[in-house]
């Protein structure tokens, strides 16, 4: 009997039943006895200081246990590492942005805490005007990316062909040039689970129930701020209700919750309100960027130029490097980029789904569409004409790249040949119909990762790593890869993650989880098999005792030698061991210095724009990707579709406008529009099957963020094709189309 490998098949989520029955316990669902409830008090000015806070009324309110403020602070420590904000709450009277945490009310019930928080009276001294405009503050500062803890791509670089004196010369000497400036306001993650923390201290040790994109990274950062050793903080995060980059960092709401629980000697639960989540838990930063392209009359690129000025909040926390795609997407002899940050007095920024590539690709791929218009070359032909086979910046070849096939297959599936090159010429009743396309690209990264594989005497296998499943399918991925590596049925495998006590796992950022973790699971499986065989030949109670270990063979859950076959469960029961396990750690090798590694996508979009109201609606979407080997076709499709819809929201709906006083004006789900079901048509996705065996033996690259990259440009290019109107300020709303 041969066990069929589940790799690449349509596999249901292993935690699906728990999720559809309500049994899955997210952070705010965890049962902790004797807990009190916290509610945050926020500043109502954007810049200044607090002169006084009257907390008497709040303290006297029914059920109130404590009110913390800058005048009754919690014990916290200064910044530790990059996973925390740049300021520590409640330690001084400064107001750095509007909505900053300035108090915490703890009461017996949520209602009591919330209502008491409204009784706190605060007097402020406003000190100047908050800086709120990227355009006004530009140009910003080029921050070396490794100077802020993000080693890797340079923030600024210029590559020139021999004999070319400057990038400006290269542009000037090009027959055709395009220059476009783009702007977008902040956007928010809006994970459906708002940030929630339950903190419980026992004997100087903290257990914290929280949605964390990296349980161990979270534990380390939280411990630093609390002034305790990392091993004294246990993060429990079995389910994360969406992250999109917004649940990587230890936000200050979690910090004050943990500190209050320590101060009170009692568990504290705090769930931020949706409005607070918009402010306190990060946003995609406001961004102004300019792209210049220089090309021949037939569209062959001679120069690519990309400069960006991105909002960096005064309170953190990461540089925005939108030229990530520009650096490598097209073959060009001359390349220049400079990615600057401008410091504004706004709430904290954060990584949001392909944080760099998403806005960068919108600019570059819109500019490419403009070049197509200017040269009269079909946008698809233009991209094939400038196809890169080696990185224009480093000269390295790709580990595996089939973007050209993505373009061709996508065009065929979508019916790109039916597109009219003349904007505004396809009309269907009151709708103008247009088609657009764009490319997507996301760097494929592996990081050191560990996993544990354990054979158990009940015939089951467990596989574990301290990673997180934000809805990505990571739990199912672990089970699939372990089942495949051991040749056992998927049903016998259970996966454990979302716990900082498990073997070291990579955080769910940068789409690195699958690529990094698969090799670790495979190695742990191999080592567990070796351990099983060693036990079989060494234990006196084993039927294989005394045999040479090379004579005992493992196959599909059984050990065989000399015609005798025993299941691992039988062996473990025979020798009286409940389990045999192995932990393995794997890391990328020298290939990372020899190759460029990326995942690729080709997007094709049809939009319909109402001739009278300007309302833009996406009517069709086709995306074809090259992501290496596929672990789970079902989860892959969902991730691809989810990323595309993120891009549609990015293009047409999402904006959190900055008011002059520093308020993010759209901070609710009524005012900040995300796509709903009626906004979304059927979406066609397809993937090529080229295992990237340079990237890893298994050949699977990351893809969780890939289709967010470029999808918004495909929408915008389709809007242009429908209307002849080019909108460079996101989102593309009806008011801009009837102006």
């Amino acid at each position: 009997m041969t066990t069929t490998s589940p790799v690449g098949a349509e596999i249901d989520r292993v935690e699906g039943r728990a999720k559809v029955t309500g049994a899955a316990r997210y952070a705010a669902d965890q049962r902790v006895n004797g807990k009190a409830y916290g509610y945050l008090v926020q500043s109502t000015i954007g810049l200044g200081s607090i002169s006084s806070m009257n907390t008497a009324q709040a303290l006297a309110a029914p059920g109130v246990i404590a009110v913390y403020s800058p005048f009754n602070p919690l014990k916290l420590y200064a910044r530790q590492g990059d996973s925390a904000e740049r300021y520590v709450p409640l330690q001084d009277d400064k107001v750095r942005f509007r909505g900053q945490i300035i108090g915490l009310v703890v009461a017996e019930s949520f209602e009591q805490a919330r209502d008491a928080a409204a009784l706190v009276r605060t007097q402020y001294r406003e000190e100047g005007h908050p800086r709120t405009s990227v355009a006004a503050a530009a140009p910003g500062t080029t921050v070396p990316s490794d100077a802020v803890g993000y080693p890797g791509p340079p923030s600024k670089n210029t590559v020139l062909a021999p004999g070319v004196a400057s990038i400006d010369d290269a542009l000037r000497d090009s027959a055709v040039t395009v220059e476009s400036t783009f702007y977008q306001d902040p956007q928010n993650h809006c994970a459906m689970e708002p940030h929630a923390t339950i903190a419980e201290w026992r004997d100087g040790r903290l257990t914290v129930y929280v949605g964390a994109q990296g349980p161990q990274q979270y534990a380390a950062a939280l411990a630093g701020r609390l002034g305790v050793e990392s091993d004294r903080v246990h993060v429990v995060s079995p389910y994360v209700g969406g992250g999109f980059g917004g649940k990587y960092k230890v936000w200050n709401d979690a910090l004050v919750t943990a500190a209050a629980a320590r101060d009170l000697g009692r568990p504290v639960k705090l769930v931020v309100s949706r409005e607070q989540a918009f402010i306190l838990n990060g946003h995609r930063p406001a961004l102004q960027q300019t792209v210049k392209l220089g090309a021949s009359h037939d569209g062959v690129l001679n120069a690519v130029w990309h400069e960006t000025d991105s909002e960096d909040s005064v309170v953190g926390y990461c540089p925005n490097l939108p030229a990530e795609v520009t650096r490598a997407l097209y073959k060009t002899p001359n390349l220049h980029f400079d990615q600057r940050q401008v410091t504004l007095d706004l709430p904290p920024i954060s990584s949001m789904r392909a944080p760099w590539a998403t806005p960068g690709a919108f600019a570059l791929e819109t500019a490419m569409d403009e070049l197509a218009v200017k040269t009269g070359v079909d946008p698809l032909t233009l991209r094939l004409r400038n196809y890169a086979t080696t990185s224009p910046e480093t000269g390295r070849p790709w580990s595996s790249k089939h973007l050209d096939e993505c373009y061709r297959v996508g065009a065929e599936r979508f019916g790109w040949a039916d597109r009219s090159p003349v904007p505004g010429t396809r009309v269907d009743g009151e709708w103008l119909v247009g088609m657009g396309m764009a490319s997507g690209m996301l760097s494929a990264t592996r990081a050191p990762a560990s996993a544990r594989v354990r054979f158990r005497d009940d015939g089951t296998v467990t596989v574990a790593s301290a990673i997180s499943d934000l809805g990505t399918g990571a739990t199912t991925m672990l089970a699939i890869v372990a089942a495949d590596a051991l040749g056992v049925s998927l049903k016998t495998v259970s996966a454990e993650l979302g716990d900082s006590a498990l073997p070291p796992g990579v955080p769910a950022i940068g789409s690195i989880v699958t690529g990094s973790t698969v090799p670790a699971v495979q190695a742990a499986a191999r080592d567990a098999i070796t351990a099983l065989i060693t036990l079989a030949v060494q234990d006196a109670a084993s039927p294989f005792h005394g045999k040479n270990s090379t004579d005992v063979h493992y196959q599909e859950g059984r050990l065989e030698a000399d015609g005798r076959s025993v299941s691992f469960a039988q062996l473990l029961r025979a020798v009286g061991n409940p389990a045999v396990e192995a932990i393995a750690t794997t890391a990328p090798g020298a290939e990372t210095t020899r190759y460029a590694m990326d995942s690729f996508a080709a997007h094709f979009c049809e939009v319909r724009v109402n001739r009278y109201t300007g309302e833009p609606r996406v009517s069709r979407f086709t995306t074809v990707v090259d992501v290496g080997r596929v672990v789970n076709a079902k989860a892959l499709r969902s991730q691809l579709v989810g990323g595309i819809i993120f891009g549609i929201g990015n293009a047409l709906l999402e904006v959190n406008a900055i008011e002059d006083n520093g308020r993010l004006a759209n901070s609710s789900l009524a005012d900040y529009l995300v796509p709903v079901n009626a906004d979304i048509p059927a979406i066609d996705t397809h993937w090529l099957d080229y295992p990237d065996t340079v990237f890893s033996e298994f050949g699977s690259r990351g893809m969780g963020e890939l289709t967010t990259v470029g999808s918004s440009a495909a929408v915008g290019n389709a809007v242009y094709n429908a209307t002849g109107i080019r909108i460079r300020d996101l989102p593309i709303t009806l008011d801009k189309l009837i102006a």
Partner: protein
């Protein structure tokens, strides 16, 4: 059998008198006790942990939750959502926005889908409440739950309870006639992971089984 009939059936779980006696003896805000409903695991391992009602001007509220009678001394500020989650420990119903903007908290009250975050517990007095925990029949999933698994109608799962409760009601309302109709009538439930096309597939598939 309707929920009301089931809830009044003698010997089905704890008797009403037994339940009330237990509730008052523990001075609890609520208790849900059952041996056979899907919520049983929640209730049995946590019944002792139900926190006491705190607050002023408490009011009596009687509900039937997933067919089980519940009597509460409720803070009049309690929403039905927070009552389910914080008092009855039925945490399958999620709080996404607390403002009626996202649909994550959707439950059925007297057979209609409602936003439990915009419904005060006191205003639901006398109502039949059905939550995600009350949808399956023992180990057998409701067709809508099974369809959501089959079609991958979710990723992170935080909106899923609300999606499924909306979807079940939508079919009962007769609004599953076409993809466009499903999209329209499911648009009160946000899914940020954006499983929308698969939710449409799931609702279509389940609606055929539910008929």
């Amino acid at each position: 059998m309707t929920e009301r009939e089931r809830s009044e059936e003698p010997g089905d779980g704890l008797s009403r008198r037994g339940l009330l006696g237990r509730a008052s003896a523990m001075a609890v805000g609520a208790a849900v006790v059952s041996t056979s409903s899907p919520g049983a695991a929640f209730a049995s391992d946590t019944a002792a942990a139900v926190p006491p009602a705190v607050g002023e001007h408490l009011v009596d509220v009687r509900l039937s939750v997933n067919g089980r009678p519940v009597r509460l001394r409720a803070d009049p500020r309690w929403t039905l959502l927070d009552t389910l989650r914080e008092r009855l420990e039925l945490t399958g119903t999620k709080k996404g926005c607390d403002r009626g903007q996202c649909g994550a908290c959707t439950v059925h009250v007297d057979g209609r889908r409602v936003l439990s975050c915009l419904t005060l517990a006191a205003a639901a007095d006398g109502s039949q409440v059905r939550t995600i925990e009350g949808l399956a029949d023992g180990d057998e999933l409701h067709p809508m739950q099974q369809a959501f698994i089959d079609h991958d109608g979710f990723q992170c799962g935080a909106c899923t309870s609300g999606q499924i409760m909306s979807a079940v009601a939508l079919v009962d309302e007769g609004h599953a006639a076409s993809d466009d109709e499903i999209r329209e009538y499911m648009s009160g439930n946000i899914c940020r992971c954006s499983a929308y096309p698969f939710i449409v597939d799931a609702v279509k598939a389940a609606s055929k089984v539910m008929r």
